[in-house]
């Protein structure tokens, strides 16, 4: 029996005049009901493209999709646009980073929730309106009965994000994808929104995929974490494994570059040198090798052979050529003391 959401060998290529942009190149992961997967990566690592492919939101014709996306036993990539449209909203929903640009400025918040609700449910306008008010109340909008007729610009950033969550959850989806849901918000509001997502998930046993560049946010929410780089999975394990004993040099780099709130001002951050690669011209072998301090440990392997995601023990997956011995020595001597 497969997981509730299971993505297998997903590839998303965009043909352009300059060449093929390989945004996602062979990605596999799964999420169970009631669990949260955090997808972490820098800009251009393919996080958002992945979520848009699951939701079927890429413009047909502009993109070459391959692989399998199984949602509750149904492959969305072969299901056809009409079927995916029916599932979208009802079975799976998405929250975007910028609520101001993902809501229609001309229609009231309530109108937009009612519209989405009535597409999937055969109810009267009054019933839908009552439902919209109830949803706004559930996500913590004060006086939802009065605010339901407000327009998006009349809401603050945090309230807009709440309204978008209300909209996404109005048809009780079983899968919620949150793409940088708190990036535009202040920390105090971010904390409120993360609590809200967690509470709603516990209430209705939703599967959640949260996409972010902020390792702190995934540490708060995620059960499993997938670290992406250049459209590929670098490391995939439970949250506590990733933070307690990360195994991939890129994850080490991310943790080392991050200033910490709970630590004293240390001497220096350890940044990852260089820049992420262009997705048209991904380096051969391991895509991370030009920025990796350990690229010479295995002869030419890192520069020529693409490492496959492999289990290095207890469901901890990495795509790296380093041997178990090398990794544990490097982690103990070079990395851990500096974190």
């Amino acid at each position: 029996m497969s997981a509730f959401l299971e993505v297998r060998d997903l590839r998303v290529y965009f043909p352009t005049d300059d060449g093929v942009v390989k945004s996602v190149d062979g990605l596999s992961f799964s999420v169970e009901r009631g669990k949260t997967l955090g997808i972490v990566g820098e800009s251009g690592s393919g996080k958002s493209v992945t979520s848009l492919s699951i939701m079927g939101l890429h413009k047909p014709g502009s993109v070459e999709l391959s692989g399998e996306v199984w949602l509750d036993g149904e492959d969305l990539l072969v299901a056809g646009a009409d079927r995916v449209r029916r599932l979208r909203g009802q079975k799976m929903a998405m929250i975007f980073q910028d609520p101001l640009s993902s809501m229609h400025p001309f229609y009231s918040i309530g109108h937009q929730i009612i519209e989405a609700y009535r597409i999937h449910n055969d109810v009267s306008k009054q019933q839908a309106r009552r439902h919209a008010i109830e949803m706004l109340g559930r996500v913590g909008i004060p006086q939802p009965g009065a605010r339901v007729d407000d327009y998006p610009h009349q809401f603050s950033g945090g309230m807009r994000q709440r309204a978008m969550i209300a909209m996404a959850l109005s048809c009780s989806p079983e899968l919620l994808i949150a793409d940088e849901p708190t990036t535009a918000l202040d920390v105090t509001v971010q904390a409120q929104i993360l609590d809200l997502i967690r509470d709603l998930q516990t209430e209705s046993n939703t599967a959640v995929v949260i996409i972010t560049h902020d390792l702190g946010v995934v540490a708060e929410l995620a059960d499993d974490i997938l670290v992406m780089y250049a459209g590929r999975a670098m490391e995939y394990a439970t949250a506590s494994k990733i933070f307690r004993g990360p195994e991939h040099p890129y994850t080490w780099g991310l943790l080392g570059s991050m200033p910490r709130l709970d630590r004293v001002r240390s001497e220096r951050l350890v940044p990852i040198p260089g820049l992420p690669p262009s997705l048209i011209n991904v380096p051969p072998g391991c895509p991370f090798h030009p920025r990796c301090a350990y690229q010479d440990r295995n002869g030419d392997a890192c520069r020529t052979i693409r490492p496959q995601l492999r289990d290095v023990g207890g469901g901890h997956h990495i795509a790296c050529h380093l041997s178990d011995n090398d990794r544990s020595t490097i982690w103990e001597t070079d990395i851990r003391p500096n974190l």
Binding site: G158, D186, V187, A191, Q192, R244, S257, M258, L261, R268
Partner: protein, 340 residues
């Protein structure tokens, strides 16, 4: 008291009662109907060669403070004293020679560089505007600067769109550095950058500070970045400083409830601690600065608020050496200071 006199001697920048009100005009006659009290009575000083950070949520007046310090806008009241000279109300012409000493680094490396100008023109502009002659010509000086901030000097003739976000931020830093300023005001210098690039830019800013003896005022909302970069931290809420202390001190024992709440809201990259952490959740959003709550402006969101908080404004007072707090019911007062 000695601490104050000492710091007044070493201070590069002293801010005294700084205010900025933006008038709100309505109607056909554009009559003033109110004012946004963006910055309302700030007092602080910044010591030479140190970094002072201003943190707070959006709308608390951080950016307005930065624009006041660089005199991009004129204060409504109070004084800004740079190296003993009052610059609060200098005219644009009088301000121009001082612009060499005060430079700014902006948040958005995409909108703060002119897309039609080459990197050479952008970084060379300060020399031209200030009529500064350099020994080997402007081009050489610009190339030295580019090399210093970690860019390839041969990219002199390239345009901003040819660079990544992190590289553009380096261009902005090179431009700010061109005239060897004394004070750099950096408004969210790394918030638009990816983590791995963010660390590169933070390290660069720290190296440049050591090399040129720069003084920084960093405006940021990321408390982890601020902890890493700062010597002193001011926490702002709705136009006022609510807490001002040395960085190690404020993170070890935050006293103002707002500071405590801000720190508790930051997600910690440690999944095992999420269940054990003592969390404080503020309700709602920052009130409008057009009509701020009376007395303590934080009382509407504060879990410790009592009647006095809405009637008597708490003054910013020393509750520990070099640790000022404006609160009637501060936290962590008995906690000993952190060990060095």
């Amino acid at each position: 008291m000695t601490a104050t006199t000492e710091s007044a001697v070493d201070a590069l920048l002293v801010v005294d009662g700084l205010q900025k009100y933006f008038p709100v005009r309505r109607g056909v006659l554009q009559r003033q109907v109110g004012a946004v009290q963006a910055v309302d009575g700030l007092n602080f000083s910044v010591i030479k060669g140190q970094t002072m950070s201003i943190v707070g949520e959006s709308g608390c007046g951080k950016t307005t403070t930065g624009r006041l310090l660089t005199r991009l806008i004129e204060p409504t009241g109070g004084r800004i004293v740079l190296e003993g000279r009052d610059i609060s109300h200098l005219s644009a012409a009088k301000m121009r020679p001082l612009r060499r000493d005060v430079q700014m680094i902006f948040q958005d490396p995409y909108s703060s560089l002119n897309p039609r100008h080459t990197v050479g023109t952008i970084v060379g502009a300060p020399f031209k505007l200030q009529h500064v002659e350099t020994e080997h010509g402007t081009k050489r000086a610009v190339q030295d600067l580019l090399a210093r901030v970690g860019l390839n000097p041969e990219h002199y003739n390239r345009y901003p769109h040819e660079f990544s976000g992190g590289q553009r931020q380096r261009i902005g830093i090179a431009r700010a550095l061109a005239l060897r300023p004394r004070l750099i005001v950096a408004d969210e210098p790394v918030s638009a950058l990816d983590v791995s690039i963010q660390a590169q830019v933070i390290n660069l800013l720290e190296d440049l500070q050591d090399e040129f003896g720069l003084t920084y005022v960093v405006i940021a909302h990321n408390l982890s970045v601020v902890r890493h970069m700062s010597d002193r931290v001011a926490v702002m809420y709705l136009g006022k400083i609510v807490e001002l202390a040395d960085s190690a001190d404020i993170y070890a024992r935050p006293m103002h409830p707002y500071t405590v709440a801000l720190m508790s809201a930051v997600p910690v990259a440690d999944p095992d601690r999420r269940l054990t952490r003592n969390r404080i959740r503020l309700q709602g959003d920052v009130p409008s600065p057009l009509n701020p709550p009376p007395a303590c402006r934080f009382h509407t969101r504060c879990w410790k608020a009592q009647e006095i908080c809405s009637t008597v404004e708490p003054p910013l007072v020393d509750l520990a050496p070099r640790h000022q707090v404006a609160c009637h019911f501060p936290e962590n007062v008995g906690t000993p200071p952190p060990q060095e």
